[in-house]
Amino acid sequence: MLLSCAAAGGARAAPARITVASYPDLDRALKLALPAFARRHPGVAVNVVTLSHKDHHTAMTTALAAGAALPDLIALDMDFLGKFVDSAGLEDLSCAPYLAGGQAARFPGYAWRAGVNRRGEIKALPVDTGPGALFYRHDLLARAGLLETDLTPSWRGFIEAGRTLRARTGAYLVAHAQDLKDIRIRAGLADGEGVFFDPQGRSQVQTARFRRAFELALQARDAGIDARVRAWSNEWSEGFRRGAIATQMMGCWLGGHLKRWIAPETAGLWRSAPLPEGAAAAWGGSFYAIPVHSQQKALAWDLLQLLALDRDQQVAAFRSLDAFPVLLSAQDDGFLSEPIDFLGGEAARLQWRDMARRIPAITIDRHDAVADEVVRNELDQVLLHRKGIDQALADARATVERRVRRRA
């Protein structure tokens, strides 16, 4: 029935048109794929609608809520995905005619799992990902007599190195103690577990994992190794420019940002390392979904396959836009072995690929954003006002449960 739409396309007088809603910079990867799409479907107009990252998700929530004003293909960011995967308004791609279930093996577990909801329905396919990396200033560390191997084996060693760095060069090791918490709570998770909620939806913030994360952040703050600057603020970018902040743990795409606008003059001074103590995490990731109300589902599915399942497209986006490919076969491209000048000639992409392969297939929850906000606020209380960690975690749990108010 849906395929017949595409077959009948040739007989229709008006040219077919599909609308894709996206946000910067993902829309650039989308536009990169349009020529290939045009070759497969000549005469089909693709209407790319871009809104700001936040506006886009607000508009899509509203559209799905009303069941109207929907595009044919929706971009969804990992941060917001949890809210959309349960939506009855998105097509289940495991059903006919998509039958996407067989594609699971082509993706890393964590990326695939995020687009699948608890009932096993595949609501979205991943198109890129951001495996984490520890970017560090090689020269600053050298000046303090430190090496990468002082940072990565253990968190204790990491903090000690930070103390040394501060003492000998005056530079801070990290931008904010919250960064350490963010990574530590994602450590040691198994496939199927969630960061803030278990698969049954119970809050996890009062577990030992969170306590260790809070302790780590507090140790870092007490050791004086964090600069207390918010990510993406002026002080943050200036900190990199001036060499006041020596490391940043973030998605691998940070390298591109550092090179292009944050600190271009520091080219060659940075290196990339795996996250400390074997932690494996990803920052962000983009997905696409097809709304049930779309009139052009066949065309939308074709475009989605081009974006998510086509190795050449993934590599092209990687080469020109720095969007790390999520497709496993694209991660074997020779491009990954090429040295990166900004990182002093290191072939860091291979390292990022290894990181992507180690990330556990954690489940995301609709309320992850709430929990993240609550935990962040509680850690602020601990760091700034010396609130007791146990008290903070207990309060966090109470607040999360209150705000989430699950109905049986």
Binding site: K54, T58, S87, A88, E238, N377, R402
Partner: protein, 316 residues
């Protein structure tokens, strides 16, 4: 005595509408549009406030919960209480100075600035027409802790001999809880003081010139003229401006949202009720409670405007 002018403007006989109906005809556009576009959202949000709804799941996902959302908002929602405090704080600190400055400013501009009045008023009005996105960028640069002009100015003022003690000696971190509120209050003041000035100025413009002439002839000082002659005449306009200010400040959303990048700042000190509403709807995914909070806010604003009406409204 008015001259007998030919003011006859009569409809053709067939179309003559009884005078009795004219008032209703005049006000009908508003009510027709409201019935068409305002009533449904209103009823929808009332119904929604009695349901639990995860919006992205679609219309079918609504579940009836009765007054549970209201009870939750009133008794267990700490975020609402905190944001209410923030909103009231911002209403007083951000809003009251606007009027205290705008009134004398409008008067001064009317009486003392002749040639450059338009230009000066234009400069004061500029903040109001600048887009909030650009404003956010500029102000985040200005309020930057280590590199912002405002901290630089404050530290510089600290060097002054006597007054210097009033100013801080270390850079203020505007991201910190209490400071965030001051930052928002400053920006709100900046943005709306010109708007109020324009309102008051346009009201002063309609006052008869003889009022000022008589005062001048009598040797009344400017200040006395302002306080005892002009202000009372401005009462309707003050009532109007204050009503708008009450409604606007209790519904304040854009400035704090943009300045704190939607987070409300550390300790949620910059989160207003409207922001809390937005976060309950879009972060918590709970449209039902958000609607309940919206209606509670409505009651609050209604109470405040009623109070304002009693105090400043037209004496009948």
């Amino acid at each position: 005595m008015s001259p007998r002018m030919s003011l006859r403007f009569t409809w053709p006989q067939r179309l003559r509408i009884p005078r009795r109906w004219m008032p209703y005809l005049f006000i009908s556009p508003f009510f027709v549009l409201f019935a068409a576009f305002g009533l449904f959202p209103l009823l929808f949000s009332i119904v929604l406030s009695l349901n639990s709804w995860d919006a992205a799941a679609g219309l079918g996902a609504m579940q009836w919960v009765g007054l549970d959302n209201y009870l939750y908002a009133l008794t267990r929602d700490d975020g609402l209480r905190a944001s209410l405090f923030n909103t009231l704080w911002l209403a007083v600190v951000g809003c009251v100075p606007q009027h205290l400055v705008a009134l004398p400013l409008a008067y001064y501009l009317h009486t003392a600035f002749r040639r450059w009045r338009n230009g000066v008023v234009g400069l004061y009005f500029l903040p109001f027409i600048t887009s909030t996105v650009a404003v956010s960028l500029v102000f985040s640069a200005l309020f930057s802790k280590d590199f912002g002009a405002i901290n630089a100015a404050l530290l510089g003022l600290h060097e002054l001999p006597l007054l210097g003690a009033l100013f801080p000696s270390t850079p203020i971190d505007w991201d910190q809880a209490e400071n965030t509120r001051w930052m928002i209050a400053i920006v709100v003041f900046w943005r709306y003081v010109g708007w109020n000035t324009v309102l008051y100025l346009s009201a002063i413009q309609t006052l008869p010139r003889d009022l000022f002439e008589a005062a001048r002839v009598d040797g009344v000082s400017e200040r006395q003229t302002f306080l005892h002659l002009v202000l009372p005449q401005l009462r309707p306009m003050i009532f109007f401006a204050v009503t708008l200010a009450i409604i606007g400040s209790l519904q304040l959303f854009e400035e704090p949202f943009i300045l704190t990048s939607g987070t409300g700042g550390s300790g949620q000190a910059g989160k207003t009720v409207a922001m809390h509403l937005y976060s309950v709807a879009f972060t918590d995914g709970d449209f039902g409670t958000a609607s309940a909070i919206a209606w509670l806010l409505f009651l609050l604003i209604a109470a405040a405007t009623w109070l304002n009406n009693r105090l400043l409204g037209r004496q009948r």
